[in-house]
Amino acid sequence: MDGSEAINVSMEHDTKILHGMAQHWRLMLLADATLKSLGSSLLLVSVIGIFFDLTFLFLLSSFLAFAAIVFLALFATEKISSVDARLIARHLNRAIPELEESSELVLKTDAELTVLERMQLLRVEKTLTESGEKNRLPNHPLKRSSIFFAGASITSLLIFVVIQPLSKGMKPSTLSKIIARPRDSSTIDERREPLKIESVKVEIMPPEYTGKAKYLLAQFDLSVEEGAQLVWHIEPNQTLSAGALNFSDRDTVLLQRQSENIYSASKKITERGFYSLRLANANEEIQSEYYEINVVDDLPPAITVIDPPSRTEIAPGQTAKVNVQIAVEDDYGVSVTELVATVAQGPGESIKFREANILFDAIVKKSPRRWEMRHELDLSALGMAPGDEFYFHIEAQDNRRPESNRSRSETFFIVLKDTAAMPLSISSGLAINYMPEYFRSQRQIIIDTEKLLVEKNNLSDGEFKRRSNEIGIDQQALRFRYGQFLGDEFDEAIGGEVADDHEGEENSNADPTSAVEQFTHAHDSEENATLFAPSIKARLKAALNEMWGAELRLRTYQPKEALPFENRALNFLKDVQQRSRVYVQRVGFEPSPIKVEEKRLTGDLSKINDRRASKESSQEKSFPEIRFALHILQKLKMNNKNFMIDEMRVLENAGHELARRAIEEPGRYLKSLADLRKLISSAESAQELCYDCLLSVERSFWQILPSEQAMPSSRTEAGFELSNRYFRKIGSRP
């Protein structure tokens, strides 16, 4: 029993050794598989990391997953679970010859052992304990796998530290650098609020002259006075890194940080347009919609003339005073109002103009926006005589700075009637100014006669008669000049005799003739004279008659009696002059003279060439980009797909055309402009298209295009052989 006990004890001990060895072996295999799987997975992940830009989390999880797969594969193939004491026993049999192929006996229970086996067991046990540590297990698999793992770790480290930064051009850094790259807004975590504007205040300072105080608006769409200074105060919900206002006149104003989270920008607004906001912080950048800026123009002053009516006639004898009463209105105030007057004096050619600016002398009512004023025009104080005319208009300026608006009323007429003046009638006929300058000598004769009468008392009788006679000679000479125009119907009977008396006066006779010759052609003067219109002829005759009467009185030394005749003669002459003034002498191209005798009636056209002109014209349609874009929108509406890059460019160009219209009519087109931008940006980011925007843009495009006018076009008609034959047949029988 003792022996069996001892056997039992030793037996237990030895089984433990075998089992322990199996356990050890299993652990080693596990460690081996782990190292192998980790190493290979590390290599793989780092290679993937070179080619793909992946997050750390993804890399880590794929690393773990791959490691697990490799590990399981190894676990299955290496049969780690099948390692047990029996396997170890077989190995020991092969490795230690002293065991005599009997180490399995150790694993058998007492009951199974035969006597022979028991004896052998004793030997085996001995050998097993003796063989000790040296022969335990086959060469270490762990060594190889740990070398592999170390190699893999070093390689992957090299990849991340050296190769990847090189291939991506990044600063050498570690894994974390890749992960911390900036991301676009879609990947920003949900917790962070998007950037938006909390509040806006627009401070509007109308120009000083308007007299308006500055005011605040809490909205983006603005309607402001012309020339107002605007200051935007914008409060976003986050700190901005940059911000700007983009205006439609291509001006950009940067936002300045004013205080904690208040940003402001300022701009002077002179014309209507629109603007948008662009805000950016570290994470995102937003662009607002388009907002309208409407400009309320400062209108020029409106002038109302209450009195007088547009034409006033003052009969002789009435007081030459006219009351002028006006009212001037302006949206911000009137600064200057004056009456601009023109005085036209003198009849006919001798008309003279004078201008005068008259300030109003009485302001009846004055409020900043409306002035009512009155002025009494004293026409006689202006030196006006019957027959003169007075024109005036009112000019007003408002107080706009730097340039004031001016406006001007209609012109008003005041006429001082002259009953003495002969009414003129317009007669038809000549386009020749046949009144030579020296008609003034009739006036000279009158002046001389008047002078003679004034000086009469201081003169001796002989001197008085001589001068009277001299004036008579002048009068005769003048009569001759006009006589020339009438074909010398009036002979020199009286003048001739007188001239004979005064031989020294011969020259004065010769002079007029030569003077006339300067203005007339010798060969056709008589003809010309007879060609005068009968009414002019009659008046000239009457003038000559009066001259003759005057001459008679002068030569008989009665200058006082001659004066009425002289005056009447002057009046007749002036009358003739007036009539002729209706016509303007023709001026224009004067061709070089043609040799009439050579050219006339020969019918020679050899030197005249056919004329040729050739022109290419093409219809340039208005708004070409909008037209193009409209077709793209139609296509888009049909198949609801996204558009191509070049189609997008067309839409952008159409947007420029739309923007130009939007500046003119922001209320109508601004929304579509914003919609167009939304449409383009949705296409750029490959989101679903905004269908409503598409419709709104399409509507605006269509509205901008003008209606087509009718155009000629050739019509298509199938030429049926049958109908052709028919028409040919009826064509031959008209």
Binding site: E616, T716, E717, A718, G719, F720, G731
Partner: protein, 623 residues
């Protein structure tokens, strides 16, 4: 296969195959019987073999007999039926069968025995005995009725629902032409509604309708841009609710520029303005103005410089229209006038004669071919120097046209005269005669450029577009596509396509907007050898383009099945009514058609004969 009353439901080839096998079998077996030493009952055995094999074959091919069918009366419910009509009908007639195209659920309560039929072919195949049918609802399309030709029907049309039942509008417009849409709204209740026409830019025209039943409407507008657009016709109630909304295709094509030759006796303002205006629209123009004897001024607009002194046939072939005044016409040589006449008669050149003293007074017309060019008879107004008239013509939809001076004449209506422009008193101020292939026209309107000076350039454009397009040579070498129907084309319904071409073997190519292509094969018209017909069944809604390989193309739009519902209803009701009428007429002429239906011969008989023969042959050996 069919022999008289016998119908064999297998194909011809199969039948011959069966027969060959049977004959082979008979041959082998009969030979066996004959070669047998014991020749007892030889004839009986041979016949037994033959009958057995044939019976076997009959069992395989299952022949049928045509038997005379019993005529029955049926009821057909089609979409658009209303229960009121149906209930009334159910009380008055007693149909032997009730069929429904319109689902079953709705009609279960009235006709519990109703059967659903998916299409006409089903009805024809499974119920050939039906001879007479009451049709309730809108009815069927003409292509469906064509299949049921032997049937006589009695339609019981239900009132149309609310919508547009008829529409007339041009499928293709030339840019600048006015779009004129007219139609009829049906099913109105008498409340005040507003009908709108909207283009891509929004509503452009509207009309208030408060009639009961049917009401016509008319819209007119000028499209802003050429291309293919969808307009919209919609009706809103008094409370601004949308009652219906239909799309409408508008296809605006670019005009084809004209080539015009102007021969004038002196330089005129009229020609100058005409030149500028035509040039602006890419038109080609050549002008010869006489400035002295044999001396001319030549002007070319978008046209290469050519010799205009000698007027030859080649020269006239380059132009579509010749504008000439009377004096120039009278000064042409006899030969030149002959050439011009030939160009008009043979090649379709147009001639527009500008009025002058030669053109207007027949006494001064002493030249050859006078009757050809100037056969107009005039009514004179000798006391006038000119007449101020307000012109009008059929395609002018502009009542604001202003007055313009015309010569103090009016053209008298004559045989063969085609009036082009009338004045407000309905006197003719411009007209044309057909001369062979071409036309010779005369307009009494002078100084039409006054419209431009007045700032009414649109009237000028309308007037000249009308005159020039009417008179110019027709573009006859090109092919022209048309759609036979005036109504919108709908998905899954045939579109009749017409092509006019001089090509001898045209094949149409149909392309959808997605680029899916389909060929259309065309049938030649019996009378017009240049007209071809084709049918296209559109599968998808959207724009479709039809063209030959190199020729002109034509776009049309195919609407969804749900679009233009009322119009589809109205069409069906009309074709159903027509079909009923036609069949009624035919019935009266012919004897009633006997309808025969094939009925299977029971295979039991064949089996029995086979069994008897086989058994006889077997027993014979045992005897």
């Amino acid at each position: 296969m069919r022999w008289g009353a016998l119908v064999i439901p297998v194909g011809r080839n199969h039948f011959w195959l069966f027969l060959a096998i049977a004959l082979l079998l008979i041959f082998v077996l009969v030979r066996q019987e004959i070669r047998r030493a014991n020749r007892r009952f030889l004839a009986a055995r041979i016949s037994g073999v033959v009958v057995a094999v044939l019976s076997l074959m009959m069992m395989a091919i299952q022949p049928r007999w045509l038997v005379r069918a019993k005529p029955t009366e049926a009821l057909l419910i089609t979409p658009g039926a209303d229960s009121q009509t149906l209930r009334a009908l159910a009380d008055s007639i007693n149909p032997s069968a009730v069929f429904s195209f319109d689902g079953l659920e709705k009609w279960k309560s009235i006709f519990p025995e109703a059967q659903f039929i998916p299409d006409v072919a089903y009805l024809k195949r499974h119920h050939p005995e039906v001879r007479f049918m009451h049709v309730i609802g809108s009815g069927l399309n003409d292509y469906d009725w064509a299949e049921l030709e032997s049937l006589s029907i009695k339609p019981h049309a239900s009132p149309l629902s609310f919508g547009i039942k008829w529409l007339d509008w041009p499928r293709e417009l030339v840019a600048g032409e006015r779009l004129h849409v007219s139609g009829i709204v049906a099913g109105l209740s008498g409340e005040e509604n507003t009908l709108y026409l909207a283009d891509p830019g929004g509503v452009i025209d509207s009309v208030k309708i408060s009639a009961e039943g049917d009401a016509p409407f008319e819209f007119s507008t000028t499209p802003h841009e050429s291309g293919r657009f969808l307009y919209e016709i919609l009706m809103r109630s008094y409370d601004n609710d949308i009652l219906f909304r239909e799309k409408l295709e508008v296809n605006v094509v670019e005009p084809q520029p004209l080539r015009i030759l102007v021969l004038e006796n002196s330089v005129s303002f009229e020609t100058r303005y005409l030149k500028n205006w035509i040039g602006k629209h890419r038109g080609k123009l050549a002008i010869r103005s006489a400035i002295s004897r044999d001396r001319f001024r030549f002007e070319f607009q978008n046209h290469p410089q050519v010799d205009l002194i000698a007027l030859t046939a080649d020269l006239f072939a380059r132009f579509d229209l010749v504008v000439i005044d009377g004096r120039t016409l009278s000064r042409l040589s006899v030969g030149e006038r002959k050439v011009l006449r030939n160009a008009v008669e043979q090649n379709g050149l147009g001639v527009l004669i500008m009025p002058d003293e030669v053109a207007l007074s027949p006494r001064k017309q002493k030249f050859s071919d006078r009757e050809f060019f100037l056969n107009f008879r005039f009514e004179e107004f000798p006391e006038l120097e000119y007449r101020m008239i307000r012109p009008s013509w059929f395609s002018l939809h502009d009542s604001s046209i202003t007055k313009i001076p015309a010569e103090p004449f009016a053209i008298q209506l004559d045989w063969g005269l085609k009036p082009l422009v009338n004045d407000e008193m309905e006197r003719i101020v411009a007209a044309a005669y057909r001369r062979g292939q071409g036309q010779v026209g005369l307009s009494l309107i002078r100084d039409s450029y006054r419209w431009i000076l007045e700032g009414n350039a649109q009237h000028y454009a309308a007037y000249w577009s009308h005159i020039l397009s009417e008179l110019a040579r027709k573009n006859s070498h090109a092919e022209r596509w048309m759609i036979a129907s005036k109504q919108p084309s709908i998905v899954d319904q045939p579109v009749q396509i017409v092509l006019e071409t001089i090509s001898t073997q045209p094949v149409g190519l149909l392309t959808t907007e997605e680029g899916v292509q389909d060929s259309i094969f065309l049938r030649q018209d019996i009378v017009h050898s240049q007209r071809w017909f084709g049918v296209f069944w559109p599968k998808v809604p959207g724009w479709h383009r039809v063209a030959t390989a190199e020729g002109n193309s034509f776009w049309f739009y195919v609407y969804e099945k749900t679009d233009w519902q009322v119009m589809q209803q109205a069409q069906k009701a009309e074709t159903t009514r027509l079909f009923a009428m036609q069949n009624h007429l035919r019935r009266n002429q012919d004897d009633p058609i006997t309808v025969r239906t094939p009925e299977a011969i029971p295979s039991f008989f064949f089996f029995l004969s086979f069994l008897i023969c086989a058994a006889g042959l077997w027993i014979e050996r045992k005897l």
